[in-house]
Amino acid sequence: MPRLNDLAGAGPASNARAILLRLGAIGGLVAGLAGTFAYAGGWLSPGALTQARIVDHFERVNGPHPGFRRNHAKGLCLAGRFESSGQGERLSRASLFAAGHVTPVTGRIALAGGQPYAADASTTVRSLALRFHLPDGEEWRTGTNDIPVFPVRDPAAFDAQLRAAKPDPATGKPDPEALKAFFAAHPESAKAASLIKARTITSGFADDTFRSLNAFRLVARDGTTTPVRWAFVPEQAATAQSPAQGARPDTNFLFDDFAAAVRRASVRWHLVVTLGAPDDPTADATRPWPAERPSLNVGTVIVAETAAEADGNCRDVNFDPLVLPAGLAGSDDPLLSARSAAYAQSFTRRAGEPKAPSAVHDTPASGAGL
């Protein structure tokens, strides 16, 4: 078969059968490699839970709000500093914990949910996201919530909960049977939900406690690691929200109160790091750690200004919980990697979208340069 030999560029002496076999082997190898690539990219498992699917869900539930975060959509930027007490120096080599160290901080307070124009409501979960600017380009980003534990243990449970809580198009409310089934299948979430429901709702952001919920590790200079969870505990005494306050008609009362408080005087939170014992669950954010665990007050976050979201400020920051400086590390908590992935997906989607002004305006007197 000289034609095949010519086509393939083989010498005239090669036999056609051998050429076909070898061509087949080459084709098989290339197809195998392409197939493995498709498998790695998830094309062969369309039902798998991916970062895109998590973010798609938020978009479906909340409707399109281009330019905004898919969750914690309504927020206000803040800036200030972190003053270390030196108490964390022994356990973490991150420079921000060195005694007397002052680290610039920027951040964002927000309300959970993907509705950027929703009215402030007393039961909505509040969040505090902070970005510590360390020397030499290092950063620590952390997103914390004012609930005692996280409602779900892992990404699969998160997805199941989102689906169970999906409003029924007929009634506009979640199907109570679906929620019951979810909690039956996830007893840890049922326990977490009752702890979350029982929390004290404070008068606002400034007297609220915000928790990491996920476990992390502090890494000391000698490499020793300590499992930790942290909380931003307000310096001012917490007061429970009064019914009158919760019923205020102004739609941004929580944010406006916080901006007003910061204008009067800086608002302070202590960074309290709870040290876990070896048996404490680090991979299950639905379970609280025993109350008697020791904790360290490693420093104070001092918020000196606030500013409405705008080009280049906190609006354009992904508060990825795994952006950590040397001396802080993630744990085996499966939610951490999933949060990192879903936040990246949300950030990428909104980065290219046209921006609309935030519902939360700030008075021009403060923080214009934020």
Binding site: A8, I26, V30, G41, G42, D316, L322, P325, A341
Partner: protein
């Protein structure tokens, strides 16, 4: 400059090391963007690996410039010769371009680009989310293009090695053998 029948030893070593790294990088990249459970671990590999590939690509191009590769066989049809030259140019462009694009994209997104420990790369672009929104899909498209090009390169190399048996494949193998077409 004198021509040798084979690539010099550094070129061959660099080729096979980078072949492994780039394939690993492409698989890590494509898995990373859908994964939830392993996202963080894969990203933590992807960044330093990308920079390693960038550095090796520069070393490789310098070596290639100082030690030109062997000529293609004279009886190779013109279109194949042109395809070989064009695809190699593209391979080098992507070897350099993809890591640079990744670095630029993360700079525009305002992410600290941590490599290991406290080592963070400086940004090479100002922070601008709308620019990031352009660069991010470009990084994906060019990575797919590189994977496709690598498949074509592999198929062509094996055609040379198994069918044409013209010494082109063996000029890049690690053990230098006198491979003669029958």
């Amino acid at each position: 400059m004198s021509r040798t029948p084979s690539f010099n030893r550094p070129a061959r070593l660099l080729h096979w090391i980078m072949a492994g790294l780039i394939l690993a990088m492409l698989f890590i990249g494509v898995a990373m963007v859908t994964s939830l459970a392993h996202y963080d671990a894969l990203v933590a590999l992807h960044r330093p690996l990308g920079i390693a590939i960038l550095v090796l690509a520069v070393v490789r191009i310098v070596n290639r410039w100082r030690h030109p590769p062997p000529e293609l066989p004279e009886d190779l049809p013109g279109w194949q010769r042109q395809a070989a030259h064009a695809s190699h140019l593209l391979l080098y462009a992507l070897m350099l371009g993809l890591p640079l694009l990744g670095w630029a994209m993360l700079s525009a997104a305002g992410y600290p680009i941590g490599l290991a420990g406290a080592l963070v790369l400086p940004p090479i672009l100002p922070r601008d989310p709308s620019f990031y929104a352009w660069l991010r899909p470009l990084h994906t498209i060019l990575a797919y293009a590189l994977f496709g090009l690598i498949l074509a390169h592999l198929a062509a190399a094996l055609m040379h090695g198994l069918i044409r048996r013209d010494g082109v494949f063996s000029s890049m193998t690690l053990r230098l053998r006198a491979f003669r077409a029958r």
